[in-house]
């Protein structure tokens, strides 16, 4: 019996150690260093993209012999859990990417600060758009290297506007919207709402402003917000953060609360936004891409949506983001590669990272459909993007949108990051699936629930 209990204690402590992440260093050849590149906390999981990433690695191998890189592809759906588990069991990779602001925030405190490496290697940060470097600061990380940025714009279907006899939304920031009767309105969310109502059509061809409109048989929706993430939805109105600044107290920004009420009423009262069940149905091509189904007139989305937007037909174009209370915000996603602080080979990892964001960047960016953070590369990128579509798209809108990036970023770190995300996700899903809720009570309840999570030490 005594032996058994001894063994038990020994195993339990070994397990505890393992769970805390004391890992044995990987033994390897002294001459070569093996790096693990962890993929798909953001984009990069599509078969074609994986191929390009492999090709980039092969080129890197051909150029030098000292560093070998292994790509680990985990699909986006399980990428965060898997990385967290790997790190926790002391089995973390050396670098990860492309990873956006949210993905980086989810692993707050796990990233290596690149500032010393940037300085010691003399890496030149000047070719990048001013301010874009702000997007890469996460917590203790002073500096990340800019790689890809994705501004948000309003995607719209020009043919639906034409059918309804309406003018298309403005392409230039600051321009007004002109109605058929010549009246001009500020290009803001009130105007968008009015437009969206007229562009929501039932199967008899009646729009949502007409008598006899049948909300049970809608075949075309006026607007699709950034549905995936409530914070993104909020930031499309105005940037903000749930954190009041002390890292302890939760406050829902007023603009976000307005954005969420707009979302909720749009679904259940005004009917120009599809409810959850409709969003899930095959006809509307669920899972965040309902604009691609070709049954939605307007949609706020990141530039990366160009990957599947061809499904919407060849009449879509880009317009300026609407304003909220006189200010315009274009939530901007920023992807880069990051080195894990647990990496045994930070210098080598940085060498590879510098290669990814440098010589290999063109190839990778075009595989990801990402807009280069390096201003000099942007023209070539848009020229290539334009070549993918048979019709003319006003790409200038995307370029102009960068000036309206959200700061603080909506996906920035907050305490209990993953728990907070779960709570937001649950409310989002509840709002999508349940009509008749009192939104003020919902917002209060949500704030309290997040606060309770933050209060837990």
């Amino acid at each position: 019996m005594n032996r058994l209990s001894n063994a038990l204690v020994a195993i339990a402590s070994a397990v505890a150690l393992a769970a805390c992440g004391s890992a044995s260093p990987p033994s390897g050849d002294a001459a070569t260093v093996e790096l693990r590149w962890y993929c798909c906390l953001g984009t990069g999981e599509q078969a074609e993209q994986v191929k390009v990433q492999q090709k980039v690695i092969e080129k890197f191998h051909a150029a030098q012999r000292r560093i070998r890189v292994k790509l680990e592809v985990v699909t986006y759906d399980s990428a965060r859990d898997t990385l967290a588990t790997q790190i926790a069991s002391g089995n973390g990779p050396d670098l990860a990417g492309p990873v956006g602001v949210g993905g980086a925030a989810a692993f707050h405190g796990r990233w290596l600060d690149l500032a010393p490496l940037i300085r010691s290697s003399g890496f030149d940060l000047s070719p990048y758009a001013k301010g874009s470097a702000d997007l890469y600061r996460i917590g203790s990380v002073q500096e990340g290297i800019p790689f890809a940025i994705y501004p948000s714009t309003l995607y719209y279907k020009a043919d639906m506007f034409e059918e309804a006899g309406l003018a298309e939304p403005p392409h230039k920031y600051g321009e007004k919207y002109t109605w058929p009767d010549g009246r001009q309105s500020e290009w803001n969310y009130d105007t968008l709402r009015e437009l969206a109502l007229r562009l929501t059509v039932d199967k008899n061809g009646k729009d949502a402003t007409q008598a006899g409109f049948d909300p049970g048989e809608i075949v075309q929706y006026g607007f699709e917000p950034a549905r995936d993430d409530l914070r993104y939805q909020g930031a499309a109105f105005a940037s903000g953060s749930l954190d009041t600044g002390d890292g302890k107290t939760v406050k829902i920004p007023d603009a976000w609360a307005d954005a969420w009420r707009f979302f909720y009423d749009g679904m259940w009262k005004d009917r120009f936004i599809m409810t959850g069940p409709v969003f899930e149905s095959e006809q509307f091509n669920g899972d965040g891409a309902s604009f691609f189904s070709g049954h939605v007139a307007m949609s706020v989305n990141f530039l990366w949506s160009t990957y599947g937007v061809a499904g919407a037909g060849d009449d879509w174009d880009l317009a300026a983001m609407p304003s909220y209370k006189g200010r315009t915000t274009s939530p901007t996603s920023a992807d880069t590669f990051r080195i894990l602080s647990g990496s045994k080979h930070p210098a080598e990892a940085f060498e590879f990272l510098a290669y990814l964001v440098g010589p290999a960047s063109q190839e990778l960016l075009s595989a990801y459909g990402a807009m280069p953070a390096r201003t000099a590369d942007q023209e070539a990128f848009f020229a290539k993007l334009a070549g993918q579509f048979t019709h003319k798209v006003d790409w200038q809108v995307a370029k102009d949108s960068v000036a309206f990036a959200d700061n603080p970023h909506s996906e920035s770190y907050t305490p209990k990051y993953n728990q907070t995300l779960t709570i937001l996700g649950t409310y989002r899903s509840r709002w999508m699936t349940k009509g008749g809720l009192d939104m003020n009570a919902q917002l209060k309840e949500m704030r309290e629930e997040i606060q309770a999570a933050w209060n837990r030490s």
């Binding site: 070994a14 962890y38 759906d77 399980s78 859990d81 034409e162 008899n204 061809g205 095959e282 499904g311």
Partner: protein, 343 residues
């Protein structure tokens, strides 16, 4: 004895109702097959036909237009919609485009599109490549075969021990074995994962295969119950002939218990084939090692906007278990019967 009319009616009713239930029960498989052959265009169309079809289109002056069934002067004509409007729309007759456009009063949305039957078999080819089906299939077969061998070997030995030998603590140990059936797996998950991570097994097949060689409660139970029905006299005769316990197992018990062993083999094969959670957590960073179920779930995440692809993928993963089942359904049924009756 000729059946009475009442009896005939009852028979007819019962048979019709039961086959109705069977049809309803299997209808998801039919919907899967039909959906797997649909085009994306059909999937995103309201009130589309049940069968895989394509909307008819007509190319006019370099652009493609949808063809609708338009009621004109009491007859239904198939016309291509070239200019959409809320109150009136313009159409072109595909048979005579040179005649110019026809204006039709009313909302085009009330019109029915014209469909032509078109199963997209190419979906399967596309999924086969995208999901890297041969690799997933090989992984699944290898995992299922190895762990089934492990389970059958170990469970036969353990069941033999419990069935044929008296040793101190046999009763409590057997109870303990049965009790593990009731244990939630979560209560052992984290330490097990941590140990496997510590010894470098995470990201390999070992955590999936090694435990199979240490027996599992269901199979041991099933085999033991069957072994108990084999008359002891046969063992004794063998041992008089000088056979040791292992030889007795091989030459007497195994040949007699063949139906039970076959059932255990099949069940474990199907179980491993269908297992999702264990490979998910141990192989999540290694797509090249993953089995079908994990690959299919990941595929679902990647291509959720293409329901036809998802259904084609589902179809491909169920083929092997269903074929196995059709070939060996008697063994399956007998295996389940023996667990159920004895308890």
């Amino acid at each position: 004895m000729t059946p009475t009319p009442a009896r005939r009616i009852r028979t007819a009713l019962m048979t019709i109702v039961m086959f109705g239930i069977v049809v309803a029960f299997l209808s998801p498989l039919v919907q899967m097959m039909l959906s797997s052959l649909k085009s994306e265009r059909q999937v995103s169309q309201a009130h589309a036909p049940l069968l895989p079809s394509d909307p008819r289109t007509f190319t006019h002056e370099g652009r493609r237009y949808d063809v609708y069934r338009v009621p004109v002067d009491g007859a239904v004509r198939e016309l291509a919609l070239v200019k959409k409007g809320r109150a009136e729309s313009e159409f072109v007759d595909p048979a005579a485009p040179e005649k110019g456009t026809v204006t039709w009063q009313g909302s085009w949305r009330t019109l029915e599109p014209s469909w032509t039957l078109a199963p997209h078999w190419s979906n399967y080819a596309a999924v086969w490549k995208l999901i890297d089906f041969p690799r997933l299939l090989l992984n699944t077969i290898a995992l299922a075969v190895i762990s089934t061998i492990g389970t059958v070997l170990s469970c036969t030995l353990v069941a033999y021990g419990f069935a044929r030998f008296r040793f101190p603590g046999r009763g409590p140990l057997f109870t303990l074995l049965i009790a593990t059936i009731f244990l939630p797996t979560a209560v052992t998950l984290i330490p097990t994962y941590a140990i496997f991570a510590q010894i470098g097994w995470v990201g390999t097949w070992l955590p999936l295969l090694v435990p199979a060689f240490f027996g599992n409660a269901y199979s041991v139970f099933l085999l033991r119950q069957y072994f108990l029905t084999i008359p002891r006299e046969m063992d004794e005769a063998a041992s008089i002939d000088g056979a040791g316990p292992l030889r007795t197992l091989r030459s007497v018990i195994v040949p007699q218990a063949w139906p039970a062993i076959a059932a255990v083999t099949l069940f474990n094969f199907v179980y491993t084939w269908n297992d999702y959670f264990t490979p998910l957590i141990y192989l999540s960073g290694r797509p090249e090692l993953q089995p079908l179920q994990v690959g299919l779930a990941a595929f679902n995440g990647l291509y959720s906007t293409k329901p036809a692809y998802i259904q084609a993928g589902a179809m491909m993963t169920i083929t092997v278990p269903v074929i196995l089942f059709i070939c060996f359904q008697r063994t399956f049924v007998r295996g389940i019967m023996s667990t159920g009756v004895e308890k």
